[in-house]
Point group: C2
Chain length 399, copies 2
């Protein structure tokens, strides 16, 4: 996994996580280990991954393979320079890994969308008519995306409380468990990206927490969508998993009915479409696991999200972030938000190990001081894929 | 007005428009005319205004005053260097003036919001309950904002036609007349900007055309707001009017009822709040004026937009764009979109001077080859304020 780290007097630079150490890729390059790749090591002495990503997919892949070769147990020669190139992770400070262009948030988690529909439109169909025809999405705020570990200040805002317009700290602060795609290739304005080419635009994946203030969101979101209920902060993991590392975790995509418009149809490989990924994800609230779910519960594939986003000619830039939307499974223990886990506050979560005080034991939404951590570890066919965690602690509102 | 221009072998750089010439601010600086301001002329040799904006409001004002002094008729000495510093505008190519961070689109034109409400929710109140409590807004797409003159390709997408899901070129392509604020000062994540300080964050204003595909928008926008119906392109004028030049055009803000929450209340100066601006704006379709309106029709002030945007702690960056939303007056001839001017296609516009063919004479939405131009010229108390125009021509969809 790639990230941006600094340590001692070393300014922010590109690193590759290796167990509890970080490989300093600039130093690896200066020692000549990338010389066959015709790569200037200076691209790793930058405070974001953007310049590295701009070198293109063949270079990402060559570097990824070279690094794995260098770090393999058989590479005894490289062990001789370990003390020059490996920095203990505990000495490092992590930074936001990309300079983000635009941030888009999809709504591709169908069980989440159904749950929200059931809560907010109890008399209608859980899903709106467009849901199974397109990966619904909206634009989010890039400026307030922060790296894992950054505290999140509880937002203030307007909301309705007991039928009365109120201003104050949100009383319904929530998390949303999502995956984020980091776009590594530019597309041209006016030129759609076909679904066959779409995955080539993805450099890698992060874990993503789309913090949400449900009370602010509910009052503001008609008719133009979420705004202040979301844009006070989103958190991403410091580490970006290379997209090709996901390959062993491909699974058959869900059957999609009604039939899709051609631009959203993937070509089957050996009879099946395998654009989904079997990735185990979990959420911890104050170190207690409160949800376990899987990326395969997404209705729409990453390829479909990109094909849809660009079908009208909208252009992608290196550093754009496309988040999946909240990933919820079918059972209550697999929901990706407190809104769903507490069923809009009606069924408070009881956290084990807390004090016997009734307020302390239960959670509907987040309290000041709560820490939310998201993790992802998957093992399949002998391959292990581990995301960098994304964590954040709630600070009280500004006074 | 400031903009980014290039000519002959001169790479993109900061210029100031003076009648039909452009003042090359780097050359002015190299000749020593900014030496009292302690300003490195290199800040004007950049391809965007961002670095100049980062110098802060006192510097913007000092440069603005110095330029006006140099260009005044009385400054005979400066006339001697005119041939070194003034470039004929017809020789120059204009570029997008800012490197845009985030783009937010408000919905502050109340007559537009009422018209849309009447068309789309004929059985309900034209305005939703939140409209008069907050400047409603949503996040837009920064990557597809282009400079005036850039052709706009008709987007393709999904929409409902006669009750049937269809894919193809939009059949309801529209413009939206807006003003865009260029943010010139950074705010800190977690720190609201008070309404008293809000205008200090505005470097200047542009004319802004938020092109919209109404059929795509209508099918997609529930529940999360506009996405592909908007993000295929937005156009801004090449020239940015310094915010302080708007001062003579201040007018009393409209009375706002019901009462606002304190964070949206401006302090009155001499009994009135004058955070609105009397700016005449017009739209031309193929050189025919089809709408004349005024910025004073906005319900919410720029200061209120900024105070609302940041009240939850959302941070602003230098180069962010905040657009006003469509500005419509009270009469049909003052509406800022074809959706309203043709009342959702029910009352086609008849354009004079076109051929007698029925299809040629009428417009409900935009046809391929149509050119939309927006202008703004205001005269008040002996002051003239002229925006740079924003224009764009519709190209057929990609095949």
């Amino acid at each position: 996994m790639y990230g941006i780290f600094s340590y001692d007097i070393a300014s922010p630079r590109v690193g590759f996580k290796h167990r509890d150490h970080i490989l300093d890729l600039e130093v690896v390059g200066l020692l000549g280990y990338f010389s066959e790749l015709n790569l200037d090591p200076a691209v790793f002495a930058r405070p974001t991954l953007n310049d590295f990503m701009k070198l293109g997919k063949p270079t990402w892949q060559a570097v990824n393979h070279r690094i794995k070769d260098l770090l393999s147990n058989e590479n005894v020669a490289f062990e001789g320079v370990h003390d020059q190139v490996l920095i203990r992770e505990s000495r490092a400070m992590m930074h936001l890994p990309v300079r983000i262009g635009d941030y888009t948030d999809f709504y591709a988690g169908i069980h989440h969308a159904e749950n929200v529909g059931r809560m907010f439109r109890p008399d209608g169909e859980p899903l709106l008519p467009n849901y199974k025809q397109m990966p619904v999405a909206y634009h989010g705020r890039a400026s307030s995306i922060v790296v894992s570990g950054t505290p999140i200040r509880r937002p203030q805002g307007q909301f309705m409380q007991g039928g009365k317009l109120t201003f104050g700290p949100s009383q319904a602060l929530d998390f949303e468990l999502e995956l984020g795609l980091i776009i590594g290739k530019e597309s041209r304005l006016g030129q759609p990206v076909s679904i066959a080419d779409a995955e080539d635009y993805v450099f890698g994946l992060v874990l993503f927490n789309d913090w949400s203030a449900r009370d602010i969101q509910r009052w503001e979101y008609q008719p133009l969508g979420p705004f202040l209920g979301k844009n006070f902060g989103s958190s991403m993991s410091a580490w970006v998993v290379p997209f090709e590392d996901l390959h062993p975790f491909r699974v058959e995509s869900p059957r999609q009915e009604p039939a899709l418009l051609p631009y959203l149809q993937s070509s089957p490989t050996e009879g099946t479409i395998s654009n989904h990924f079997d990735l185990t994800l979990e959420v911890l609230l104050n170190d207690v696991v409160i949800s376990q779910t899987n990326a395969r519960y997404l209705y729409w594939s990453f390829a479909q999200m990109i094909a849809h986003h660009t079908v009208n000619g909208c252009n992608l830039n290196v550093g754009d972030v496309l988040a999946s939307g909240t990933i919820s499974g079918t059972e209550p223990g697999s929901y990706g938000s407190l809104l769903e886990l507490s069923w809009n506050g009606e069924r408070p979560l009881v956290l084990p190990g807390e004090t016997a005080e009734p307020e302390g034991r239960k959670r509907t939404f987040l309290q000041d001081g709560d820490t939310v951590t998201m993790r992802g570890i998957s093992i399949k066919h002998g391959h292990t894929l581990k995301f960098g965690e994304v964590t954040g602690t709630i600070q009280p509102s500004a006074q």
